[in-house]
């Protein structure tokens, strides 16, 4: 197993370097110059000022040299100084990670706590109206755009009903450890972020549960006179959950990526909102730090998934 993990870690290095090159080139070749954008409209700005700023931000070198400088620094977790904030880009990014992780973890919990039971109910009630409703919900969950749903929920539950806050992660003036207040703030964004996952898991669970329920060992369990609940939850569900557990490998990175839209709609001060604003302002160091962070998260989560596969099926490890 150790060799397997080392091998997979070594594979990850060229993947991350490849991502870094692609990101670096795309960001720099996209239309516009960050310094000109930075000073646009400033009175009396001179060509000398522009050159000084370009030098201060290391943008006066050829792109390949800029990349080499950046790569060497990046290995030491130095992603450079943000053009906008004049602070360490990676530290700024790390400051946003807890907010995004908080949202992602709650969304993940909702996906499992709602999606799994819905899938099981749909399978057990196959052909009934509740099965139909859950399947319709499954399709809708995939089809409804997150930004639209988010705006509708804000209008209904924040602006009209005033039950929940419309934005942010904490009421101004509240203590950061005020958990009920935090819960009120996270409810809507976490629900929107989790919706696709809920739909996904309910669909997978329905299919898997139906499949498992038709297998011989379940019939045997019934024949042994076991209680229906024991058959479903102890025998059938354990087996049906295997694809869900393996699918969890990439889900956290997916949630972090998906949070970009949700954070924008709900003014959630996480990595997604931060990266979006940095991209608009052409703040290269932050955009690159964020891309590498999410990529590393993705690579790490796929590595965990592969390890999980290897544990479940030793043939993968051998291959």
């Amino acid at each position: 197993m150790r060799n397997f993990i080392i091998r997979r870690l070594l594979y990850a290095i060229p993947t991350l370097i490849g991502i870094s090159i692609i990101t670096f080139v795309i960001v720099r070749l996209s239309p516009g110059d960050p310094i000109r954008f930075f000073v646009f409209g400033q009175r009396d700005i001179t060509g000398e000022d522009i050159e000084r700023l370009r030098h201060a931000y290391g943008l006066d070198k050829p792109i390949p040299l800029q990349y080499v400088d950046w790569l060497i620094a990046m290995v030491q977790l130095n992603f450079g100084q943000s053009f906008i904030y004049h602070q360490d880009a990676f530290q700024l990014l790390l400051g946003r990670v807890p907010a995004t992780l908080q949202l992602a973890v709650v969304a993940l919990a909702l996906q499992l706590l709602v999606g799994v039971p819905l899938g099981v109910i749909a399978a057990l009630k196959r052909g009934t109206w509740s099965d139909g409703m859950i399947r319709v919900f499954g399709v809708a969950g995939h089809a409804v755009p997150a930004f639209w749903l988010g705006l509708v929920l804000i209008i209904v539950f924040a602006v009209q009903l005033r039950w929940l806050p419309s934005q942010g992660m904490l009421t101004v003036g509240k203590d950061v450890w005020d958990l009920p207040d935090r819960l009120r703030h996270i409810l809507l964004p976490a629900f929107v972020l989790s919706l696709t996952g809920i739909a996904n898991y309910s669909r997978i669970l329905r299919t898997e549960t139906l499949d498992v329920l038709s297998q011989d060992f379940v019939r045997t369990a019934h024949a042994k006179g076991l209680h229906e609940r024991t058959v479903v939850f102890v025998h059938a569900l354990r087996n049906a959950l295997i694809p869900v557990v393996t699918a969890l490998g990439g889900i956290l990175a997916g949630l972090v990526g998906g949070a970009l839209v949700v954070e924008q709609v709900f003014s959630w001060p996480g990595v997604g909102q931060f990266t979006f604003q940095a991209a608009i302002a052409k703040d290269y160091p932050i955009v690159q730090a964020a891309t590498m962070f999410v990529s590393a998260l993705l690579v790490a989560s796929y590595l965990l998934r592969d390890i999980a596969y290897a544990i479940v099926d030793p043939r993968i490890k051998a291959g």
């Binding site: 996209s30 930075f38 409209g41 000022d49 700023l53 101004v172 003036g173 001060p269």
Partner: protein
């Protein structure tokens, strides 16, 4: 149907009904906890109540709390609340008036004398002195990342200090007998200097160590106090910055103009304008600005007050008068036709719901430099526009498209994508110009790319819709002087992307900025700017578009809130919240 199935159906019906009822409700629903009541408006005689919190909504987090490095509106707001300035612009006229210091200008406009008022202290109790202003100036000279160096280039000795050829700035002299008094000598007359010399007054006891003879640029650029100020001179002190979420300031009880009535000022960052509107409606925000499209909706909310005033800027269509593809734009008559041929009043109604004023010259009416002489209003007159085009030799062909010397009149109007207002304006303008027989199309493109094209003189741009913000001194040099016309061949960059130049206009700009007789009086400068605006008005290198209204929305419980074109928080210490 089983009992369970019936229960499920009832629950679904109740949920659906609640959603329907909720969405059908008007915005006059129950007020959120802590939100003000609709009857909270106070009379002028009410005694200010102490306590409470002001929450301003913004769509951008701050970048820094170091005034020298500020290059965005949000950071500017917070540094204004933390660090007071020696002078401010009058909230309504923009003219410089005394704040922390009194000032005088020598008759030749080359020497400026300032004296900090006796009762002005830092939050740590130390007096604010001349050296603190000099520390701000030296920090600007030292910094590698400031965009403000050129503001001070006319101070004697500043350029040598900036280029590390000197360790002091010779033009600044602190009175040996009075540490609160100093003079600034200029290398040449520069009328905008009085606004620029407001500079940055920084606590020397904090930032002095970053501007010593051996300090490096990164010392001031990365100082820890840039993100967590420890000593301030403004009405508030720094408490906490939750990045991307909010900045919390606490009242400065020793503020020289009197302790603020409220305990805290919170700058709340939200994702977009819709979130600001929602926050104002729910009472989560105390004040903020909304877009014109949301005005009708917000007007239905009883708990808020709307204050309108003119924005210090305008949105325009800039014509590339040297365009090799849209050659017609070189002709003044064509540009005038493009002014007569668009119904700007109708456009204002369509694009910004009537919340703007038509512009026909560079300065906006709230600036003192706005001309009092009559300017051609370019009232919509399609027949006159067609006649002018005909006079310029543009005649409609069999397909109805104007052509001259075998070349059809095509026109692409670019604007920055994502800006809904400008995209709509481009589309409406293109539609109206089509009615004149011009093959006009709108083309949205990324703002960053557009900025590079404009400032480098990219000749693929024929017409561009963007906007100018005109805060500060009304000097139009950087936009309209011929030296600011970009030249791709010589790599000269600038904001003169219309390529329009006029010797008389150059002279008027120069005399308004650096008068040979040293006369920087408002009257003398205004006369020059009238000449300048008349030339622009006649030649129409821009269709000057319109100047939006700022729509400031505040909770009715907020008292003494009186934003004006040049200042919003100038009297924040007097604001109070009626409970």
């Amino acid at each position: 149907m089983t009992a369970k199935q019936r229960t499920g159906k009832v629950l679904i019906a109740v949920f659906a009904a609640s959603i329907l009822v909720a969405t059908a409700c008007t915005s006059g629903g129950p007020t959120a906890s802590g939100a003000p009541s609709a009857t909270a408006a106070a009379s002028a005689t009410d005694k200010p109540q102490q306590g409470g919190r002001i929450i301003e909504g913004t769509i951008s987090d701050i970048a820094t709390m170091q005034p020298v490095l500020v290059n965005d509106t949000s950071s500017g707001r917070i540094t204004t609340l933390l660090y007071d300035t020696i002078l401010i612009q009058d909230p309504k006229t923009g003219e410089p008036v005394s704040r922390m210091a009194t000032f005088s200008i020598s008759p030749d406009s080359l020497t400026y004398t300032f004296e900090i008022k006796a009762n002005v202290n830092w939050s740590d109790g130390k007096p604010v002195i001349a050296q603190d202003w000099l520390t701000g100036l030296m920090a600007t000279g030292k910094s590698a990342k400031t965009v403000r160096k050129s503001n001070f280039q006319d101070i004697q000795g500043f350029n040598d200090f900036k280029d590390a050829k000197a360790t002091t700035i010779t033009g600044v002299t602190i009175d040996a007998a009075n540490p609160k008094k100093w003079t600034v000598k200029m290398a040449k007359v520069s009328c905008p200097a009085i606004i620029q010399l407001i500079g940055y007054t920084l606590p020397t006891q904090v930032f002095g160590k970053y501007v010593t003879a051996t300090s490096k640029p990164e010392d001031i650029d990365t100082a820890v106090e840039n993100t967590a100020p420890t000593v301030t001179s403004g009405p508030f002190t720094f408490k906490e910055w939750r990045k991307g979420d909010q900045i919390i300031l606490a009242k400065n009880a020793t503020y020289w103009q009197g302790s603020p009535n409220v305990d805290e000022y919170v700058y709340k960052v939200v994702a977009n304008q819709t979130a600001i509107t929602n926050g104002l409606k729910t009472g989560e925000l105390t004040f903020g600005s909304i877009q014109a499209k949301d005005l009708a909706d917000v007007q239905t909310v009883d708990s808020v007050k709307i204050t309108k005033y003119q924005n210090l800027g305008y949105t325009f269509i800039g014509w590339n008068t040297a365009s090799p593809s849209a050659v017609g734009l070189a002709d003044k008559r064509v540009r005038q036709a493009l002014a007569y041929g668009i119904d700007m009043d109708a456009v204002i109604k369509a694009v910004v719901f009537g919340e703007a004023t038509k512009q026909v010259a560079h300065h906006v009416p709230v600036q003192w430099a706005y001309p009092t002489v009559a300017l051609e209003p370019y009232k919509y007159d399609k027949a006159k526009a067609q006649q002018l085009l005909k006079d310029a030799g543009w005649v409609a062909g069999s397909d109805g498209i104007l052509a001259k010397d075998g070349k059809k009149f095509s026109l692409t109007i670019a604007t920055n994508s994502g800006n809904q207002e400008r995209e709509t304006l481009a589309q409406v303008a293109a539609d109206q110009y089509k009615q004149l027989g011009i093959q006009a199309t709108a083309r949205p493109e990324a703002f960053q790319g557009l900025v590079t094209k404009l400032t480098t003189g990219d000749q693929t741009l024929e017409a561009t819709i963007i906007g100018w913000s005109l805060g500060g001194d009304p000097d139009p040099y950087s936009i309209w002087h011929s030296s600011q016309i970009p030249n791709p061949a010589t790599k000269v960059e600038g904001f003169g992307f219309t390529f329009f130049k006029d010797a008389a206009m150059d002279k008027a700009i120069e005399q308004g900025r650096n008068p040979t007789d040293g006369n920087c009086s408002t009257a003398a400068r205004k006369a020059n700017y009238e000449t300048f605006n008349k030339i622009l008005n006649e030649n129409q290198p821009y269709n000057f578009g319109y100047s939006n209204n700022v729509l400031a929305v505040s909770q009715k419980s907020l008292q003494n809130f009186a934003p004006a074109p040049f200042q919003t928080v100038y009297n924040v210490q007097e604001w109070w919240i009626k409970k």
